[in-house]
């Protein structure tokens, strides 16, 4: 989706266990939900 939106050079960081030990942990585990950091560069061209 980032590339479709006009971003390039997408980097994704390591998964973080955002919900571990929280009340929502069970639901997060059910769908393998983790936090990630994303980085991308806005393309220079006019169109996405």
């Amino acid at each position: 989706m980032l590339q479709d939106s006009g971003f390039t050079d997408v980097v994704i960081g390591a998964a973080v266990d955002t919900f571990g030990g929280a009340n929502g942990e069970d639901k997060a585990r059910a769908f393998e939900v983790y936090g990630y950091t994303f980085m991308a560069t806005r393309s220079v061209g006019m169109s996405a």
Partner: protein
């Protein structure tokens, strides 16, 4: 600066989305109003200083912030983990909440930079503005607005940050189009958010309560 209907501008219509964006927005606003005014309450996610430690923020930067800047922090990752902001950069924080990431950004860009936090929840905005004033941070400003319609001029930002916000927006395509609009060509988007490794059933995607709980 931005279209009256950000969803239409991004090429989507409400019928394409799993939930109604306005209804989801109200649900999210209600949840985060509670996080702003009663951070000691029980939530399904971690908040505050413990969460900042968990996500790997620099301890010295967090320790330097007063409690109101940190206690309502509810991010899901660390937008600064892949790249530290540079001195003098102009930053937009999408969904700035009580201002935690904006204040971290302010420390990295220094007083020669500028940080604009944007949030839709009045209680979060009030809290972040009080903290900025208490800290005497003239280069940090908080504006009311939506991720799909940022109150920021075209190409103003060197960097856009966000933390745990885009997953709460029904029309992600509209959000990314808006982020692209406010970034200068070559500018950086660095954000943290959640992603699921297993597919969420279609009926669950249409259940608005599951988006925030």
């Amino acid at each position: 600066m931005h279209a009256d209907d950000p969803h239409a501008a991004a090429g989507t219509v409400a019928g394409d989305l799993p939930v109604d964006p306005a209804a989801l927005r109200e649900e999210v606003r209600g949840k985060y109003r509670e996080v702003a005014v009663d951070p000691g309450a029980s939530f399904h996610f971690h908040i505050g200083r413990g969460l900042a430690r968990r996500l790997g923020y620099e301890a010295a930067a967090v320790d330097a912030l007063p409690d109101p800047a940190v206690e309502s922090f509810a991010g899901v990752g660390n937008p600064f983990s892949l790249r530290r902001l540079a001195s003098g950069e102009r930053v937009v924080d999408v969904g700035s909440g009580a201002g935690f990431d904006s204040f971290i950004a302010a420390g990295q860009v220094g007083r020669g930079g500028q940080v604009v936090g944007v949030d839709m929840t009045a209680e979060m905005l009030a809290k972040s503005r009080r903290t900025a004033e208490a800290l005497g941070l003239a280069h940090v400003e908080f504006r009311e607005g939506l991720a799909e319609a940022l109150p920021v001029a075209d190409g103003w930002a060197d960097v856009v940050i966000s933390n745990g916000v885009i997953n709460l927006c029904a029309d992600k395509q509209a959000v990314f189009a808006e982020i692209r609009r406010v970034l200068r060509p070559g500018g950086q988007l660095q954000f943290a958010d959640i992603a699921n490794g297993r597919p969420v059933p279609a009926e669950a995607l249409r259940d608005i309560d599951l988006w925030t709980g």
